[in-house]
Amino acid sequence: MDILLQQILNGLSIASVITLIAVGVTLIFGLTGIINFAHGEFLMVGSIVTWLAVSNGLPFPVALILGVLAVALMGFVLERAIFRFTLERPTNGFIVSLGLIVVLQHIVILFWNANQKSIPRPLTTVWEVGGVRIASVRVMVILMTIAVVAMTYVMITRSRYGRALRASVEDRDTAALMGIPVRRYITGVFVLGSALAGLGGGLLIALFPITPFTGGTMVMKGFAVALIGGLGNLTGAVAAGLILGIVEGFSAGYGFSEWTDAYSFGLMILVLLFRPHGLFGGTSGPKMA
């Protein structure tokens, strides 16, 4: 029983980091139409900035904030300098993002080499409850994910900004005619998604060592979760993240462990075959006249 409970807890922990990435992906892809496969490298940069800050003696919370700000700034610059020119041709944006993966990885390798980077765990306490071990650092990551996703949800669904955004997704031209600064909103969403990747990176390095190549796998799972949940649908991203986390935890513990990733992506294929817009329905990206 304690092993079963431990696996459920493991699944929740896996779900939290994936969900954070998936929320960024679902916002950017679902609301702006930008297919940014370099989102995983944004996360990696967030990890590197956090690592640099902690290595230079800054406390983890400050390092985490610096990581978020740095990646948000990077997102702003890249959106203004590159992605905004690809909005009418999303395939170009997709190819550009593939190039960015290599560029960002090699910039990091050039300055900080390709070796693994890690920081001391910001929280080291481990509680034992009925044979189940609960690491405080994982609880911190789960709680922060819940808080950030909840704030993002409220902003997208309840605020004026969120309503304007959703209107832009429905019809960019009409939204623009109604006075909504669509292009500025797109930049805002891209920066928000990037900041979430930076946060994910900072939290990731609190849990595990990272390398310049860490982003690749994470972004694949982020896209899988975003697609399973429904593009642009935050509730879907959270639910799909939970499903994927639990599936991964249980498949590693009770199934063929080496197939863990295959289960996740197999699930994504099944969902997309039977519910092309995801389990909770998505936007399919913005509509353009």
Partner: protein, 405 residues
Amino acid sequence: MKSNLLRGAAVALCLGASAYAALAQDAGDTVKIGVVAAESGAFVSAGHTLPAGVGLAVKQINDAGGINVGGKNYKLEMVKRDDRTDIATAIAATQELVRDEKVAAIFGSESHDFTLAMAKITQPAKIMHFAGNSTLGKVLTPDAVKAGGENHYLFQSEPQEFQRSGSTARGVLSLLEPLLGAKPKKSVLVVGNDATGQFLSSFYITALKAEGQEVPDIIFYPPETTDFSPFLTKAKSFDPDVIHFWYNGDSTLTALPQALELGAAKSYFLFGVDPGIWKERGLTADVPVAMSCVPVCWGASSNPNSKTYFDAYFAAGAPHGVTSSVSLLYHDYVHFLAKAWEKAGSFDPDKTVDALMSMKYSGVVSDSLAFNETHQVTHATEVCAAAPGGEITCSMQQPPEKAPE
């Protein structure tokens, strides 16, 4: 006027000819050694140690005056190519080094599959080829390595896998026993699910069983895994004395803190993790943790040559890596090859092979490195163990004579 033109043309021709001769002489006095390794991509951690180890050996040889072959002095020049952890790039790089750069020898790659592909180019071209892979036994057969055989110029600069697995398993269990207060009986393997992991773990599980271990399960994880908690929880359900993390050092260092948090086993073994990294990262554990290096550790070592080598290696600019010791699977063999060329008195590949097979070389790893009849080396592997208090003990473990049944 005409005679002036003719005289000018003759002078120009003479100058051109002498310049060409001087260039040819320069080219002739330098022997190129190629390196194909992953300096980017997934294998970069081990890959970047190849040019670092070969480059250090080349510098040491050149600083000592170069090599004297057939009464003439030559300098060595390393020409390295990044295979980007991509087999097609490794093949293209090898072709370029052989055809365009005219290298006399090639070192690499860190990956078994890449080496096999590269050998299809180096061997027909009669290029000396050294690879630090433990798994070339299937292509280094007596027929293949004999004169005229398809891999006559290919050499394996790492012990065979049954030897490495055997010495590692024996060393790990013997170092953990006093720290645990009893002989470990039950082991679980946690292994990366790629071709190398599957292949290597089959040897290691046999070696553990030969040492009397009960091995209830071998748990494979996808190679890019970062969250190991489900796999470790499964391992914990077997109540093992030792969890052996095999074979990727980076993944191992990711998994260990999670294993310690879960209290997954009474002790752990981290293959391919240097005690130097353990110390640098300030890692600690409340249970014994064994580590092994391929082949000699830099952070703590029982090998007297290790410190001198790694001082020079890191002073040359190489970073402190999990697998920096892999450089020794190449460094010693550049020196060995240079001695063979000197002994052969020629760069002729057939004479070089004969010289290599008739020699012993005193290197960092061993003072009597030699190739057996199938072009494979044998030497010890270093295993270390960190006690819960932090004290690290190391010992060189000799390989078994024969592969266990």
